[in-house]
Symmetry: C2
Subunit: 198 residues, 2 copies
């Protein structure tokens, strides 16, 4: 029973993701997800409060390896500039793999903007990355590999770069291959954070 | 006659801007702009091809002093890191003055995303800033105030930061006062671009 329930949940998530990618977040309704997934509305609402809740779980799933990578980077022995470059290379992977997801994310943001509750929920992973990055930067300052910067500020700066590149990637499909350049830009930024020889 | 035509154009622009701010870009139609401005549709279409064209002119107007500031910064004798900090302080002003415009810009982007023609038009000022910044960075590398970076890449990095902060500013209204922090983040970035002592 437990297992079947988990299967239903998984089916809803996979079907919704497929529909979001095919036709967009706004254009996809709960009724349509239920029909395509072959589940009742009752089953849907047993597992999820709303379409937005489904979307947030999909994003969490897709981003979960970033959480793991960040934890790993905090724990291991790499110097922080190298750790940051490693995270940037993961960022590049997200861009290359997730172009379609980015587009949905953008749509979701536009909707969430008018709804404080869902914006708050959408902002949670964001906030977590910000705090993670601040821990990593702090470690870098303490170990002496980074110059004396405010970890909170630098963390928000990095998030701003990532957000900006994401937006450009979504918008400017015919422009530069943004995914390819994430690493390059992060390298400039990180190089500028390295401790200078006294 | 020439003067009256210019007045009509100005009235349309001011009225449209007011309506966009009050009720959003999407919710405002050409008919409504005409009615509120007290002009005929004929007069409207004599001056503007579409609602999008009106919006683009409003944005150009609002941003025109950035163009002037950039040209000035290229011409004057300031060292480039100081020039960039000056531009960042202008950026801060935009955030503080233009919160409502940013919100409309976001709506416009979301629409333009589905329409290659208007996205291209919307991207034009963007492209111009990018080229301007690249010229400034190049000057900094040549005068020896900045380290040896690729001007194009750094220029795109700065634009990504600005875009990311803008998006965060639009989205996270209850969060940090983003306008206040633009300068702080740019300072970290610019400090990292300074030439290091050999």
């Amino acid at each position: 029973m437990q297992q079947r329930s988990e299967e239903t949940r998984r089916t809803i998530l996979d079907t919704a993701e497929e529909l979001f990618i095919q036709q967009g977040y706004t254009a996809t309704g709960v009724a349509e997800i239920c029909e395509a997934a072959g589940v009742s509305k009752g089953a849907f609402y047993h597992h999820f409060e709303s379409k937005q809740a489904v979307f947030l779980v999909i994003m969490e799933d897709r981003l979960s390896y970033i959480n793991q990578a960040m934890q790993q980077v905090l724990d291991d022995q790499r110097e922080v500039p190298d750790a940051l470059m490693y995270l940037a290379s993961l960022g590049k992977m997200i861009f290359l793999a997730g172009e379609k997801h980015l587009s949905i994310l953008m749509e979701f943001w536009e909707q969430a903007r008018h709804d404080p509750e869902s914006w708050k929920a959408a902002g949670a992973p964001y906030e977590r990355y910000q705090q993670f990055l601040a821990l990593i930067i702090r470690k870098g300052v303490e170990e002496g590999s980074l110059r004396e910067v405010n970890p909170e500020d630098v963390s928000r700066l990095i998030i701003a770069v990532a957000t900006g590149l994401m937006l450009q990637g979504v918008m400017d499909k015919e422009g530069e291959a943004w995914g390819q350049t994430v690493e390059k830009y992060m390298e400039i930024l990180i190089e500028g954070l390295r401790r200078r020889p006294q």
